[in-house]
Symmetry: D2
Subunit: 367 residues, 4 copies
């Protein structure tokens, strides 16, 4: 019997791991049980955001020091997914998942289950293609098994960190006579996010077998997952995946639920996600209920039409602030208001993750 422990820790900067260190020092967290660290760091969340790499390095060094493992060993055992951008009220933080051996018998009730894993490395010419789709599909299915989840309906959030193309990687492909999916390195982020999400959608049967090919990636927006959340980063060549759901194989103090925001201000979907996690809400959560909400995890993006509820916004025409930053700020406000806490995980760029302008939202509650 196992249980998943979740710790939401504040960060005073991208390299601040003091809270996790204190939890380890006081025995509250056994560093060898950590399977994943999911972070929201305070960079711009775009191309030149180095806070993601700095946070990954800081947590990796801490866990290596506390476990005695090498940094490479830590990299093979723990999934690090850092998402940049804490616009508006959003609070920089990390969510640490521990998988702990627990005593007792399996309970009848499904509780929070989580597992993490890795795809193989991708060649530059494979990025953003079916190669990524297939590997993410394969690992998602593995992680379901690892988390003791048989029914795809019990999977509520699949967080993936995927690679991106750089000038060097593109050159490498070209020197071997291969062509990459796109030459713009910024756009390659979207292709990899989209391909990863479609892999999840196939694994969970959200879209029909055979519906995905290289051509539909970042092109046919009718295909999407309602639980995938993917982020690209320069610091890796494979995908790191964290799967979350509910299972009777775990006896955790937590449960998770999800819904899909139809657009950036769909607060009703956030309430649905809370209820889907097993907490009945009357209008908005009460103070007591808010205290039991551990975190909300969501994707945000500017609707490609430039409109929300038929009202024009300026997210796409503002040449001073990137539209992903506008979107995170607004959606961060909406979700923070719903759960009564600005320390929530809102990530930008939702290709094939929910409908245009919307995205998946999951909520973890203390049972």
């Amino acid at each position: 019997m196992r249980k998943i422990d979740v710790r939401k820790i504040e960060m005073s900067g991208p390299d601040d791991t003091r809270v996790l260190k204190a939890l380890i020092d006081e025995g509250a967290v056994d560093p060898k049980t950590i399977i994943a660290v999911l972070g929201k760091t305070e960079g711009n969340g775009c191309v030149n955001d180095f806070t993601r790499g700095l946070a990954t390095l800081a947590f990796k060094r801490l866990i290596a020091a506390e476990t005695g493992w090498s940094e490479d060993e830590v990299s093979r055992k723990v999934a690090f997914v850092m998402s940049g951008g804490t616009e508006g009220v959003l609070a920089p933080h990390a969510l640490v998942f521990c998988s702990i051996e627990a005593e007792g018998e399996p309970s009848a009730e499904k509780t929070l289950a989580a597992s993490s894993g890795f795809t193989r490395d991708f060649l530059p010419e494979e990025q953003g293609t079916m190669a990524v789709v297939e590997e993410c599909r394969r690992v998602t299915l593995e992680l379901m098994e690892k988390a003791g989840i048989a029914d795809p309906a019990d999977v509520h959030f699949v967080q993936i960190k995927c690679p991106l193309l750089t000038s060097e990687r593109i050159l490498d492909a070209q020197e071997r006579g291969c062509e990459v999916v796109v030459h713009d390195t910024y756009e390659s982020m979207g292709y990899n996010r989209g391909a990863s999400a479609l892999g999840v959608a196939l694994a969970l049967g959200e879209i029909p077998e055979g519906s995905v090919s290289d051509e539909v990636i970042c092109s046919d927006w009718s295909l999407y997952s309602k639980v995938a959340s993917t982020s690209a980063g320069v610091e890796l060549l494979n995908c790191e995946i964290i799967l979350m759901g509910n299972s009777t194989a775990f006896d955790s103090d937590f449960a998770i639920g999800h819904s899909v925001m139809k657009d950036a201000i769909d607060i009703e979907a956030v309430i649905e996600a809370i209820e889907n996690a097993g907490m009945k809400v009357d209008g908005l959560p009460t103070t007591e209920q808010k205290a039991r909400i551990v975190n909300a995890l969501a994707k945000a993006e500017a609707d490609s039409t430039g409109y929300v509820r038929a009202r024009r916004n300026t997210m796409h025409t503002d040449s001073d602030i990137n539209h992903t930053r506008h979107a995170r700020a607004a959606v961060g406000g909406v979700i923070s208001a719903a759960v009564g806490d600005p320390m929530v995980y809102v990530s930008g760029g939702a290709e094939h993750q929910g409908p245009d302008g919307g995205g998946p939202v999951a909520v973890i509650v203390r049972r």
Copy 2:
């Protein structure tokens, strides 16, 4: 007997007055009845935001052309208050107030009342001082009378456009041997916004007689108005004031209510404002109720502590995006979600307007 008509019109750019033109052309709006235009324009809302001036110029020219009045006449008859910044989902728009002669008897029910007026021009050395406080107090009281409001509790929103100091104006004061309140032109915006708001607070009896002096302006934050909303702009030397409330002297199709957001994610206060306007809400407004909400008007600001609900945010430490832009984006998301419409009026910089990090919120509903 009079009634107030309110028209919320979309703007495809700061100088787009086509919707108002069409309403005038089709006879829905009589240009001579317009008493105020309150706009949300798509600049950065900070020092170098010229969309406010452009929008003012555009609406002034249209009204002059349609009424046959000179632009100067229009300036003396209509209050133009343009607030810059439509971050996140916020939609650029203008709210046009018309005061119309109506037939019939006074109704027993209080309905939307509005009036607009102007203080005298201020010398540079008077800006941000008791001179502004006193004038705003005086005109607020006049506007209450003009709107047929006797009880300060029936005043729900007082929007003021105030001046700011420029290098030229400071020099002018110095050449006459006078000292200005602050030499930083950006900071002078805050002093004028604060002084204007305190004038409203005195007029409405929100703070004790004699509690305001030059020293407390932008210093003693315990003094504030719960209904004042003030914006500074370079384009004027006096204050333009729009007062909104409910009165039996008007037989309008609308009513207004307000509340105070304690912080940036206080969605409960937005619901309170809706209810205060006479619409009973169960949790969140229904689709039918949302259709009857004309607009929400609110002030947003980054809490000076850098924290919301004890969670650190990066609004004050982000050197790429001004904190007022972060605040409008987040609060804009919250209010849009509550009323189901991103075309709401959220303005930044709330000195002496509600508590630190919070601010007044008013809602106009169709009865």
Copy 3:
């Protein structure tokens, strides 16, 4: 016999026309002789820069008021080219060109000649295509004749303001069953800038007859003009063109020369342009020589490779500041240092205007 007078006037804001007003009041400028106003305004120079429209409106209103012409008449007689973006040391200003009847005999020496004109309006589906190329070619040739310039080598700067696509214009084309060159409105700026520049290149014989087709626009960068400088703006549907050169048909107090900057720090090219205008320079201009330089006009852009002189820069990877703003700031520094004056005209986005990462630079000197 005619002469061209050039007035460089400072602007304290995008709508500040006080200096020109004063020059008219004191009789130094006859408003009816103005043929063009070329401005550098303080917006971001990108999509949501409304300072260009505001400045155009302000100057148009002033000239209408001072001449007694209607604003429409002014539009047909005077070319207004406003370019946004005054990053770094660049000073907002306008350059006013007057074409004046002068007494005396034609001089043997070539002096500053200038003329302005307009293409026909373009349908949305014509934007960024050969239709623009051909019209700009035609008008450029007309303007040469109007300026008394027979030899293309005597043309030193051709400034064009061209239109761009908006969502409305794209829709209009589609409703008539026509296709536009690109659906991204931002990218349409580049296509129109490029097409306009190629029209100039054809008119002046800089590239071979028949070398331009729809396919090469914004695609074959080996084709470019060394004297074209083009800017796109939402406020017009045709192209406004100002041509500058030297001619014996004018007896001006000024002369113009040009060169091509090979990259962003090619200060040697700026010196060459000064010398090309007839001022012999030893190293850098002396204080006396600097006083005789009226203005420098140049195009700036970030090299598409991300490198200048084989050194990596971050103009293309900085997600907080648009690369055109980086480029104007840097090139503005270089040119200001060369001529000893930060009030110079540096405009961004140089498709088919000089080589990748470089661009034309012209200098007007007092003889």
Copy 4:
């Protein structure tokens, strides 16, 4: 006999130390001889710039791995000064100084000398006060001796990394009943930069003994050093100092010279600095001369008046881009153009470092 070796290495990102690693691997650099690493990293150079810390961590880790020293030992032996901000054409890079035992006799000619050292840690209440001034003065004098420089005129650049106040540090002072110099953490950067620079000015006799007190720091701008260049960072509590000059005690292949830029476009001062380093220049450096210029090091800032050469700029009124970023972009363009290389070190914020709007500029040339 010793010699200073200087290596300018490109960085493809803030944590890219590959070039230094390669130099060590091929035996070109002995890691134990490194005394200082001076870097220009690609963050925004303001409060939330984490690229400085990331680069420091990366170089520290590399040197620790290559020398076998602990990271703490490296910290005590090597000065790391990272300055953020590579706007415009500026290229991210690091300058590595090695102090090497050399054979042979002292030469008659003065060549590049360099030394590095550290002040004691400062209490929060000491930051930005005479405590910093005195310690920087003391260590500067020590470093002169260490570099074999007796005459202050032979000191050409003193680079200091100083601390800044954080909310935690201010709280710590207050809990001990002490007051800090300023509560705004951003402003504390300026006080520390200013105090450090005044310490250098006193050490070198640039300002009279007794002229500095707490009151004049960041207040009396007539007091400044012509060779100090100071940067604040959150990652340290003391000052790290790198002193550069010329001395007969060293037999280096390099020499250094300096001058003071009077304003942001004072390219003549850059030429003077090159000549001061011993390279006679006719106008602008030739291609051969440019190849011998190793690096230029300069401070840039926006003139507090908002004017350069009596021309208004918008660096202080642009609410989208911090004025320090504007200044680095412009000055970076000027200096890159003068030396023909965009890989130069231009740092922002020049309190008490050269006159208002200007700053020191030093040039290192290969003899």
